[in-house]
Symmetry: C2
Subunit: 207 residues, 2 copies
Amino acid sequence: MNSSLSTPERQPERIKSLGPYTFEQFKDLAGSFHGYPAPGLLIGGVMVSLARSRVQPDTLFDALVETSKCLPDAVQLLTPCSTGNGWMKVLDLGRYAVTLYDKYTGQGWRAHIHVDRLAAWPGIRAWFLKLEPKQSQDTIRLFQEIQQAGWDYMALQPVRVRKTWLGKAPSGAVAVCPACGEAYPERHGSLCRACAEGEPFVRIRTP
Amino acid sequence: MNSSLSTPERQPERIKSLGPYTFEQFKDLAGSFHGYPAPGLLIGGVMVSLARSRVQPDTLFDALVETSKCLPDAVQLLTPCSTGNGWMKVLDLGRYAVTLYDKYTGQGWRAHIHVDRLAAWPGIRAWFLKLEPKQSQDTIRLFQEIQQAGWDYMALQPVRVRKTWLGKAPSGAVAVCPACGEAYPERHGSLCRACAEGEPFVRIRTP
């Protein structure tokens, strides 16, 4: 399964910067955006930097993230792609991996955690594979190891994202739902999806 | 359908601040995070501010967004909730509405666009209901109208988010997929979802 893996050419000795930020600045930014500087977000920052190092600077790229945990926030902090602009897609495949790809051709680079290469990084390995209870985790040491390791335990592979995943469906005309009175995309049908399929909440009557 | 709607008590004459930012600062932040200061993101900022004005300051709240377009980024910029920390859920119901709710009880406030009240704001109405082609949109005037209108054309309602939407499923133990060699949540089955259901990309062999 590793025959087509591309190993990064350059393994930084120690991560100095992530995008326009120093490692410390990114840690602070991660804390303010994400609520706390989660190890997964810092590892995500390294991973996004790795994938982005192969994308040509003038490429308009989208992001495809294979887990909903932490990594999407690294993409949002270090690239123009976000949940709200639709340039980042999150699939809950459960794998800690991200692909940055040309939004027109689908050609891009996928970075992921290479489990075998984690052997050299016991703190990251224990965290990633959940080998130790969270309470006994030495967070400061883990952060140091993340910075020290760089992308040593990651792998990069060229991929081509399938056509069905490229572009956005045009949202089209807007209708007003006869049941709730709110606007929704006409293509959803004669009622909005919330009225057709149920709402995730109960409305509380006010006196 | 409007019997249980709560109208905001205070309709600001002109939006001066959105969270810790001035309107202008938020516009700049929206531009850098989202790629451009989309009208939907500015309206989203006003909407998030409206919902948040009713949440008690010491409440740990989650966010439920009913559209994937623009509004999620307003939530991410103005609250601690993000895609990667799991405190924001995005449902593609197609309605421009957000609920901020106590993450333990589900009690919260839902803000949405009140279509009838848009009559007083023709620029926002034309944009929201897509009554004019994008090319003929006067963006500067639209931004001014958004700032002027405040939350005049929005409505707020107390809701209780259903129990099935509260909390996060614990991710549990980690397994290594025998097919791709990557780590994934053991509860997904004997293969990771990507290997079981297919990948959204084609792997390109390197020479």
